[in-house]
Amino acid sequence: MPLLADAVTLARLQFALTTMFHIVWTLLSIGLSLFLVAVEGLWLKTGDRDYYRHARFWGRLLILNVALGVVSGIPLEFQFGTNWSRFAAATGGFFGSILGFEGAMAFMLEAAFLGLMVFGWGRVPRGVHFFATCMVALGASLSAFWIMVANAWMQTPAGGVMAGGRFVVTDYLAAVMNPDMFLAVNHMWLAAVETTLFVVGGLSAWYLLRGRQVEMFLKSFKVVLLAAVLVAPLQVFLGDASGRAVARYQPAKVAAIESHWHTNPPGEGAPWKLLAWPNFARQDNDWTFLTIPSGLSLLLTHSRAGRVQGLRDFPREDQPPVALPFYAFRVMIAVGFALFFLMLWTLWAWRKGALTLDGLPRQRRLLQAWVAAVPLGYLAVETGWITREVGRQPWIIYGLMRTREAASPLPGATVAASLITYLVLYSLLFLAFLIFARRLLLKGPDLDEAPPGRRPSPEGP
């Protein structure tokens, strides 16, 4: 198969596989650590034991997630050197320093305080433990910040010029604060939070459906719902802003996302299509389904006849793949709205007094919907990631360096071997996680666990 003989394609597949595996664990590492700050804080403030039980229970799920996030994250940092050595040599000064700051500022913080958070119960004063939990959350979020700075810079490079095959930084701050940075960081961070909310909410709903520790899980369900009221609409808003920013900075990407081939003539709006089938050879769509006239212009420019560049305006060698970003994007949007409406439905039910011990038995459908929503956040993040990264092609640094020119000069067989190794190992790890997570959830929270006193006992826990 010619595809498998191509080391660059294999290296891209390996990067996609390892990133998409890693991203799964980072979502809960970010969101759940923040949730833990909330419940531990609530426990310290109210003295309600249920919040302490929540802290211990969800803490165990966090550890599983962080474990896999760490072991799958380290290969990523080194992959820039192993598989993309020409990219590394060309951009290292800036790109490497960002990864260095991520390690020193965020990764280490999370790693070190996690030990205190896990083993520190009863060994350190309550306040110190709470501080450790906060630092774990801060580390995870800072990590996301630096990684998204690096990624956003690859989308909208700024602060320097390409000279002699190397990116020369002239303005470090401008490179960090590149045009895509703000939206990229916030959209991703909020995605992690939103995914976590619907995971915690969905799992709480599962316990509620089974009538296990109803009082305790009703509390987490309400905490989650209150947060979702803020997060779900904000994410829809950020998504819209991101779409318009992409149209401005990466017009070829947005054309691919919408399978939009022909630039609309002046005075006439570009249509939005729900479904389409792109044909690269013909540089057009084979068919389209459900078209909204002027829809695309309205979405991207907020005006009826706003100009949206079509793919045909770009040379073929500069066009990204179309079908993958087009469909991945639609899945992401669908999930975003589904979660938004689930939040509204629940809010309405709450208003009608359904979220009480007596009202709950009549809300089976609602609770089942929450359980079904557990994987949706993950789905949205993965498809969003595909949209973002495949849409950037054929560039590794948008407009400056092509992916093809960035790979290490490695034999295809070597990359194929490492790709297969990762594939097998990651499948096993995923399976192990499912087994352990299932066991943890079936066991449920430990109700006999006594909260530690204000001062650490000399014996430890």
Partner: protein, 334 residues
């Protein structure tokens, strides 16, 4: 940026800082990996559990020092990062596999009923990671083929007898660190066992270090001249520190063997750095040629100068909280 030009002060400073980060990584994760390697030579199941427990969750921040080092190397000497990682693709993958095995063994053994398999993953992962690091170092010292700033050799170049010698030496060195750590962290039979293992490892390290020095000296006469010239520190300090390790082990000291072992590693590091200078990757990539521009090095320096003490402080706090002998049933702790 010609290879002949002398490195700037900032580039030299970064060479030293990366050496420091590497030393911190090797001393801290070295004992984690060493405990893992020694666990493979321990029959009793509960004793292996105790060995793992002695590392608590500290293996995690310890390992993270390599991530910090990797990022900083990427930023400060981009071409060196690119050459090292692409030249040593396979040892790198093996190293990461070793880390993955070790990492999940720690996290998962708490969640399972049958521990022995995960403890084997702990030992096996540690040994794999140590061997991979050894081959990487050995391959680096044998001088990868670099043309126009890109690695131009084969993916198997690192697999040579000299690198194997270095790898064996590093595995023994980590075992020594691990043994000395267990001496201060455990008591009773396990401590007695660790003392014996550390002593054996120290002799093996001495033999391996001598063999590596002779092999390298024969191949590169200019190195021999550097080593034999004044102030003779190359010849005196490493054997002296290793002697301290053996003597303190025989006297049954608690902390001294570990401190002497750190001294030995520090001496070996300084010797290594001085032997490499002015190259970063021998023979072709010099510090001067690989360094990022000074203004970037300045930005990174400011960042690291602020962050390094903070990182060291909170890491030290963890050690302080979990100080003392490890007890039965200390893992998982909750």
């Amino acid at each position: 940026m010609s290879p002949e030009s002398a490195p700037t002060t900032l580039a030299l400073l970064w060479f030293g800082l990366l050496g420091l980060l590497l030393f911190i990584y090797v001393s801290l994760d070295g004992f984690d990996l060493g405990v893992g390697i020694l666990s493979l030579f321990t029959r009793k199941e509960e004793r292996r559990g105790l060995m793992m427990a002695s590392l608590g969750l500290m293996w995690h921040p310890n390992q993270t020092w390599l991530v910090v080092l990797g990022g900083m190397l990427f930023g400060a000497f981009p071409p060196a990062y690119a050459v090292v990682l692409s030249a040593f693709y396979l040892p790198m993958i093996l190293l990461l596999l070793g880390f993955i095995l070790r990492g999940v063994s720690f996290e998962f053994q708490a969640a399972v009923r049958y521990h022995s398999l995960w403890r084997l993953a702990f030992g096996g992962g540690s040994l794999l990671a140590a061997l991979a690091q050894g081959f990487l170092l050995g391959g680096l010292l044998s001088g990868p083929r670099v043309v126009e700033g890109q690695f131009a050799g084969s993916v198997w170049d690192w697999l040579n007898p000299f690198a194997a010698l270095v790898a064996a030496g590093l595995v023994c060195g980590y075992a020594l660190l691990g043994g000395a750590y267990l001496v201060l962290k455990t008591e009773g039979e396990l401590r007695a066992q660790s003392r014996g293992q550390a002593r054996a490892a120290a002799w093996l390290v001495a033999a391996a270090a001598l063999a590596v020095a002779v092999a390298a000296g024969l191949r590169h006469p200019e190195l021999t001249r550097k080593w034999l010239g004044p102030p003779l520190a190359f010849l005196v300090v490493p054997p002296l520190t290793l002697g301290g390790v053996l003597l303190s082990l025989r006297k049954g000291r608690e902390y001294a063997p570990f401190l002497w072992t750190l001294g030995f590693f520090a001496a070996a590091f300084v010797c290594l750095g001085a032997s490499l200078y002015p190259c970063l990757i021998p023979p072709g990539v010099t510090i001067a040629a690989a360094a990022a521009p000074d203004h970037l090095l300045t930005v990174m320096l400011v960042g690291l100068v602020v962050l390094l003490p903070v990182m060291l402080a909170y890491n030290a706090y963890q050690y302080w909280v979990f100080w003392g002998k490890v007890k039965e049933g200390a893992y998982p702790g909750d």
